[in-house]
Amino acid sequence: MYKIANTQLWVHDQNEALAFYTAKLGMEVRSDVTMPEMGNFRWLTVGPVDQPDFAIVLMAIPGAPVMDEQTSIEVRELMAKGFAGTVFLTTDDCRASYESLRARGVEFTEEPEERPYGIDAGFRDPSGNSFRLTQVADFVGA
């Protein structure tokens, strides 16, 4: 079978994203390489410290010739409107994670709330990508 290795998020600015994902979310940099022969394409990936086999690619929105101007504008718009993707995080303790992330400067759009499936909260990265932070409830038999 296979595993998911990386998944990609569009970001508004890679330096801004790097600062947010590392300093605020506490992820580690897995790869940060700029390739002159590819028009200075920068492969930038980050991941949770305790999950070494998975990383998020923080991808700048390209212009021509990779992406035509109109598409580039549309992707930027979609990202800024918050419709370009969501990352679902899980945690053993939503309220504790919420407090520590908030202390590091993450602005939450939703505070921790009890739901049928557990406790979860929500925030966005600077680009507008949404994150859920969920503590999944243990199933309790009747």
Binding site: H12, D13, N15, E16, R76, E77, M79, A80, K81, G82, T109, E110, E111, R124, S127, G128, A142
Partner: protein
């Protein structure tokens, strides 16, 4: 750094409506969150999200109200206030326009909220136990034995209260 798209500022206003609908929030407050004048904000919001900020905030409040109608037995008036609306008359009118029926009819079309309340078994047992009735045994000497059925008193106040009649009993 590329210029921040205006949509990112509009998204802040939309997030604010989603997070703080219960407060006395209005379009002016949303415009402030986006850092735009109200007229410019309303036009830009509609262009980005396809509906006016007023409509977005109202429908968010009505969505939350509908959830409370399904999940709680709070009164319609309390729910109206809980989602940040002030006039029960216009709440009922808007609700009816969006959902096609009044809040009360909407609520009645779903199972009662008590059916979903996860009241622990110990609480159910504690509050459902009937008050001891003696069948007036102490009066037997003077009166004939009453023909009351030998069942617990299920008409007790606690059992009828929807908040306490729960699953897992």
């Amino acid at each position: 750094m590329p210029q921040i798209p205006i949509a990112r500022h509009l998204l802040r206003a939309k997030d604010l409506a989603d997070a703080r609908y219960a407060e006395p929030l209005d379009v002016a407050a949303l415009a402030t969150a986006a850092g735009l004048s109200q007229a410019h904000f309303s036009r830009a919001f509609r262009k980005a999200f396809g509906e006016s900020p007023h409509a977005y905030l109202l429908t968010r409040r009505l969505e939350r109200a509908a959830a409370l109608l399904r999940k709680t037995d709070n009164s319609v008036a309390d729910i109206c206030v809980a989602v940040g609306l002030t006039s029960i008359g216009s709440f009922t009118t808007s609700f009816k326009r969006m959902f096609g029926c009044t809040p009360s009819v909407y609520r009645a079309s779903f199972p009662p909220a008590a059916a979903f309340a996860r009241v622990p078994a110990c609480v159910v047992r504690a509050y459902s136990r009937p008050v001891l009735r003696t069948f007036r045994e102490d009066e037997i000497a003077e009166r004939p034995i009453p023909s009351a059925p030998l069942t617990p008193n299920l008409g007790g106040r606690h059992v009828q209260d929807r908040k306490h009649s729960a699953v897992g009993a």
